[in-house]
Subunit: 345 residues, 2 copies
């Protein structure tokens, strides 16, 4: 995720093409940004947040007045927010950019569109920097959960691709450990339907020289049962104040099995992932196109027209979560009390 | 699975090509039969058993004396047994055919190879008929676990394709219920790496007009969590006397989650699936080619050369099993006592 000053465009690495092709796409309008998020060229809650922040900037590139710019920002927020409903970072970023703009305009701190543009660019950059810093901090807090020789089971890709920074959330402790010369390896389930595990996590870790083993999603239980896993570390798309964790479909099963077998289950996420307002019953779980299940990379794997249920997130109740690791520290149960204490508001 | 009298060959429906192509292969030697089993043209524990029984017959097609025939049968057993190590039906069928042959020869009941051939053909047919009868009986016993409107979660394909009879083990109660006009539907996880769920279970049920919904293996937890599942019904490749169940990779996770959420977990298998001799520590879990995980239908889904762990079965400890449904009745815990009572020996 980088901003191209020369032609005022946002350059995105197309994650849907990895690891087979390295394609960069340029987007210049909120609609194009929303489309890139919807089609999962950009994915991963933090990366979506950063992209959405830049997406807000594209809304005012052609504005001729601050009034027009504010209108465009308002519209852009709704376009962007609707692209992926579950990730909280998305609406956090768009809200943040919109309210900052309002404030700057109302307080007279910017008088021309160019000034607003410059401020928003700096702010998007700041969001990126904060994310990277938060991830390194999570990596350091998470390090205390990793012993020499450990194997960490993850899910999906909550690495540097998911966040746009190269570090990641769930994988941050592994990366920090590896950088410090601590021997650590990862088991990555392929994570159907989008195969973020086999396409992205494996690719990212192999590139960095961190030992990784690929398994099917069906083998998640056996690797834990056989004692091949020391801890489970996953990211999150949304965490409620009582500790309910929304993350990639398949996370719940890892949590239940980990608890049953006495393996610690850690969720790693920056404080921007917390949603202290909503309750479980308020959250709609995104369902995507049935063809994502009927095919793999365009190849059919099931009879045509088969009925499909394709939810892309699941919810893990707090009783299965050993701890939530944030950049402000590790949150232990009871989450109902301790989440607010750490995340505040 | 059918025997072609005209040219003395075994005709097999190639399950690895379904549902995209309907291909029949003819096999005429134990090596060819073993290869068909190894490459999963034939799969499913009972279907493998029936195929192996016929495979033994192919060993003596060219024998010129009973002595030679016995030698060929002995060799054929070892060729066939090594094709898939986990399924108990395979070695059960080959042992049965071999010891029957010994008995017939020693007691002078057959005097020529042609007579032995005729007896073995009749025996293989009997194994097939007994399997079909057993499945219908399991379907009837399993019916008491199905209520009008129920949805059954399964795993892999333990239907009529897995057994060669058109009925199946895990799916037998669903089929009997459907035949009796009881409304019942199935949720089928795709079951990577071989996709028996999306390729076979879905295909078989759609063909028979039984409502079926396809999900990814990652969604298994969520469908149970959301209350979409009334019971789990799976087949088995091997069941130990203490109730440990070996079945398709991914079964264990369904069992753990079902228990955690209070959903009954049933294993359906004919008594030939029981292994009353071995203990958990004696059973090796088959691992297959890493390329099965690195690709889907020949299309790469991961970076080349990624390290893979590809076990194809897992083991579910007895505490997660609500009951085992056999053709001789329903076995409830404590299995240590009740399995021997029902399965005897």
């Amino acid at each position: 995720i980088s901003w191209e000053e020369q032609d005022n465009s946002l350059v995105l690495l197309d994650q849907s093409a990895l690891p087979f092709e390295t394609v960069f796409v340029k987007v210049r309008t909120p609609e194009e940004v929303a489309y890139a998020i919807k089609t999962m060229k950009v994915r991963g809650a933090p990366a979506i947040g950063i992209t959405a922040a830049y997406g807000m900037i594209t809304a005012i590139l052609k504005s001729s007045s601050l009034e027009e710019a504010m209108g465009s920002l308002f519209k852009a927020k709704s376009v962007l927010d609707s692209s992926r409903p579950t990730a909280v970072n998305l609406s956090w970023a768009t809200s943040h950019m919109l309210s900052l703009s309002k404030k700057l305009v109302e307080e007279g701190k910017v008088r021309r569109v160019e000034e607003l543009l410059a401020e928003l660019k700096a702010e998007a950059r700041r969001i990126f920097d904060q994310e990277l810093e938060a991830e390194l901090q999570m990596g350091i807090y998470g390090l205390e959960k990793i012993d020499e020789g450990d194997t960490v089971l993850t899910q999906c890709n909550a690495g540097g691709l998911a966040t746009g920074t190269g570090v990641g959330t769930a994988l941050a402790p592994v990366k920090v450990a590896h950088a410090l010369g601590i021997k650590v390896s990862v088991i990555a389930p392929e994570t159907r339907p989008w195969l973020q595990g086999s396409r992205l996590t494996v690719y990212e870790l192999m590139k960095e020289g961190i030992p990784v083993k690929l398994i099917t999603d069906t083998a998640v239980g056996l690797v834990m049962f056989k004692g091949m896993v020391n801890s489970v570390m996953v990211g999150a798309d949304r965490i409620l104040s009582d500790g309910h964790v929304y993350n990639k479909i398949g996370t719940f099963k890892e949590a239940v099995i980990a608890k049953e077998l006495g393996i610690p289950f850690y969720v790693l996420a920056p404080v921007t992932t917390f949603d202290l307002k909503n309750k479980v019953e308020d959250i709609r779980i995104e369902e995507r196109d049935p063809n994502e299940v009927r095919t793999v990379r365009g190849v059919p794997i099931a009879p045509e027209g088969v009925e499909v249920y394709n939810p892309v997130f699941d919810v893990t109740p707090p009783k299965y979560v050993t701890a939530i690791i944030t950049e402000r520290g590790v949150i232990y149960p009871p989450f109902e009390r301790n989440v607010r204490k750490t995340v505040g508001r």
